[in-house]
């Protein structure tokens, strides 16, 4: 793909352009081939298998005999009349929306905070990444202890500061369990959005910000009218990745509450686990798995389209 002087000087520019476009479109695919093969084998096959399973009545015996009767979309229609599935879907939505709002706004706030360098800011910023580096099992176990009703450090702190009189049943009440789970998930997710936003802020052209400053824009206006629009593509990335991560969070919830108390934190991921691995009902479990995949896929498509748009905008 070397542009020669000839091609540039060629008289029929549209033809060359078309040919050039075709090559431009084809060549990447040859480069992508190994990745595509890898994706088909490592991701395509499990996805297909999961899809197949969700259309079958899979029992313990299936693993020995390989026999699983085809049931069409029965597993999916069963789910629609399962109140626990519907409520898990709602809880997943609440969990995802609130987690992401929290993660992204706090992450952005911290990124702005660290943007203007101050003594030890690099060291503190590095420490902020710790939640990200800790294995989720560790974080969730620590939070279980923090939230403990009788011996938890959070209740101890709040009581000592006279903020509350009676201990809050963080993970032992159907009302507080979901907020507690969301708080934990936000804590886990902050470093990611902070790190991405921070690197985005670093790459912003200083002259535009200076110009805005000179034009008398307040810091509030500079954030909403200048910084945020310029970070829009990055926000899209953080948003999509956070959504796809959050809708399928399993280990954190499972360790913190095991989906309880009384299903108060049962999300699609934990319910799918319960169906597949506790009830050994793989057909319905796989169906929920696929629903999760479709939800993630919707956001991924949304992300790719907005990403394309922003690329097109740059081309112009």
């Amino acid at each position: 793909m070397v542009l020669t002087v000839d091609t540039i000087k060629a008289p029929d520019t549209t033809r060359v352009r078309r040919k050039f476009n075709l090559r431009r479109r084809l060549v990447p695919f040859t480069f992508m081939a190994p990745a595509i093969v890898f994706l088909i084998v490592m991701f395509g096959y499990p996805l297909f298998y999961n899809l197949e399973m969700s259309l079958q009545h899979v029992t313990v015996g299936t693993f020995l005999t390989g026999i699983a009767p085809f049931v069409g979309f029965d597993n999916y229609t069963d789910l629609l009349s399962d109140p626990l599935f519907i409520s898990s879907l709602q809880r997943t939505a609440i969990f995802t929306v609130l987690s992401i709002v929290g993660q992204m706004s706090i992450g952005m706030g911290l990124a702005l905070f660290f943007w203007r360098a101050f003594p030890f800011s690099t060291a503190i910023r590095a420490m902020m990444l710790v939640p990200w580096l800790l294995p989720l099992v560790v974080s969730a176990t620590i939070f279980r202890w923090i939230f403990d009703l009788d011996a938890g450090v959070l209740n101890y702190l709040l009581e000592t500061l006279n903020i509350i009189q009676d201990p809050i049943p963080w993970i032992t009440s159907v009302d507080y369990a979901m907020p507690a789970t969301i708080i934990t998930n936000i804590w886990v997710g902050i470093p990611f959005s902070m790190a991405v936003f921070y690197s985005g802020l670093q790459s912003l052209p200083k002259e535009i910000l200076e110009a805005a400053h000179l034009d008398g824009a307040t810091s509030w206006q500079r954030f909403w009218r200048v910084i945020l629009p310029m970070l829009a593509p990055l926000t899209g990335v953080v948003f999509t990745l956070s959504v796809t991560y959050t809708v399928k969070v399993f280990d954190l919830i499972y360790i913190l509450t095991a989906g309880g108390p009384a299903n108060a934190t049962q999300t699609l991921a934990t319910y799918a686990y319960q169906l597949s691995f506790r009830n050994l009902d793989w057909g319905h479990g796989a169906a929920i798995g696929n629903i999760l995949v479709v939800i993630s896929l919707c956001f991924a498509v949304f992300y790719l389209r907005s990403f394309k748009k922003s690329l097109a905008a740059e081309d112009v």
Binding site: L64, L149, T257, A262
Partner: protein, 408 residues
């Protein structure tokens, strides 16, 4: 696989010869060793003391029968998955040592075969323990020992509260728990987490009150949940029980934050080292003098569909001998399944005596519900949590659970 049955008694020279002959047939994957009296086994004794105990027991019968054991241990939650995975890749272990509640699932799938088909001799085994691993009228497991639940109580706290004897009825349990509760100390602890452990620990209360898990919303079950919820309402039990697994409840007990605990014999090994003084008695029953009904856990042997039945029988017959059963029970803190060794066992492990009486009332969780049990158990534990926390009325919660479990 049938041609080499009974190799176990062969002299070592002939076994070596056979080994070298079968090594020539190298085209058969793994066949060389499998035919020359090797059994593959899978169990969940991954924790160090359990692991060492398993190795010891395997060695006893390996030495006696000449069968080599190729043992694999995986964490309990992975055991069934691992077995199913092995089934789908045609590499099922010959012997599976699993929790007896998993037997119904595996039996239903044809993964394990009835133990009577293999010809293992179960005479002398406690019938109430054999039926725990039954499915559709057939016995699938050989369980040398079982563990079960009892009431553990802190003797110092009882003395301080002026309570002379441990509670034997529900009423006494409630009154004592209230009396023993003070700042930082709850009267009673038990696990009520939203997993099988929660259901397991509640089952003595459900069954002893005449209820069962087949009909979740029976009046007896409503009464039982109201009783347990009452303990929380009194403040005698922490609301945190809904997040506690068995070990968490035990931590509360041995650290002196709970005066009593519903806990299993498997805590003995750990709790012997604890700094508190405790005693163990049967779980209180609704009325005085009743036989408490308990769930039994513990590992049960089953023979897989693809196993060499001859070798499997030889090996399990060895494990079923009185001295081996006794050794197994003593080293793992199980109640031995054979009445013939109980006298010796009582002498050797006095701590286990309260558990022995309870196993007479052993009830199977899965022999009636079979493969539907996990669904009922999950629905029940969710209902129980709602009732314990006071968010739902017991009747309403159990009606809902019944509907969820039966799919109506």
């Amino acid at each position: 696989m049938t041609s080499n049955r009974g190799q176990s008694a062969m002299p070592i020279g002939r076994r070596l010869l056979l080994l070298s002959v079968s090594a020539l047939a190298a085209t058969l994957p793994m066949a060389g060793f499998a035919q020359a009296a090797t059994l593959t086994t899978i169990d969940y004794a991954t924790e160090s003391s359990g692991n060492a105990m398993m190795n010891n027991m395997m060695k006893v019968c390996s030495d006696q029968t000449g069968i080599t054991i190729d043992r694999q241990a995986v964490p309990y939650p992975e055991l069934v998955q691992k077995v199913l995975q092995a089934a789908s890749s045609n590499s099922l272990p010959d012997l599976i040592l699993m929790d007896n509640s998993d037997a119904a699932q595996l039996a239903d799938g044809g993964i394990i075969v009835p133990i009577t088909d293999v010809g293992v001799d179960l005479t002398g085994f406690n019938p109430s323990i054999i039926q725990v691993g039954a499915y559709k009228g057939k016995d699938y497991t050989m369980q040398a020992g079982v563990n079960t639940l009892a009431l553990w109580y802190n003797t110092d706290m009882f003395k301080a509260a002026g309570i002379a004897n441990p509670p034997t009825t529900w009423e006494e349990l409630k009154a004592d728990a209230k009396k023993l509760t003070s700042k930082g100390v709850y009267g009673l602890s038990f696990p009520a987490v939203a997993t099988e452990e929660g259901t397991f620990h509640a089952s003595p209360f459900i069954w002893s009150n005449g209820g069962d898990f087949q009909t979740l919303n029976s009046p007896q079950n409503v009464e039982t949940l109201n009783y347990i919820a009452g303990l929380l309402k009194d403040g005698s039990v922490s609301k945190s029980v809904v997040t506690w697994a068995g070990d968490d409840a035990n931590d509360q007990f041995i650290s002196g934050r709970a005066a009593m605990m519903i806990g299993g014999s498997w805590h003995l090994k750990n709790n012997e080292k604890a700094s508190i003084h405790y005693n163990i008695v049967s779980i209180p029953t609704p009325k005085a003098g009743e036989q408490v009904k308990v769930p039994v856990g513990g590992e049960a042997w089953a023979v897989s569909a693809t196993a060499d039945k001859g070798n499997a029988k030889t090996f399990l017959d060895c494990l079923a001998q009185d001295p081996v059963v006794l050794k197994w029970a003593e080293s793992g803190n199980y109640v031995p399944s054979k009445a013939s060794v109980l006298d010796q066992f009582r002498k050797d492990v006095p701590d286990m005596v309260p558990f022995i009486g309870s196993t007479a009332g052993a009830v199977s969780r899965t022999s009636v519900l079979g493969i539907a049990y996990p669904k009922y158990s999950a629905a029940f534990s969710a209902a129980m949590q709602a009732v314990l926390l006071g968010t739902k009325d017991a009747k309403a919660a159990l009606d809902e659970a019944e509907a969820a479990a039966t799919g109506k």
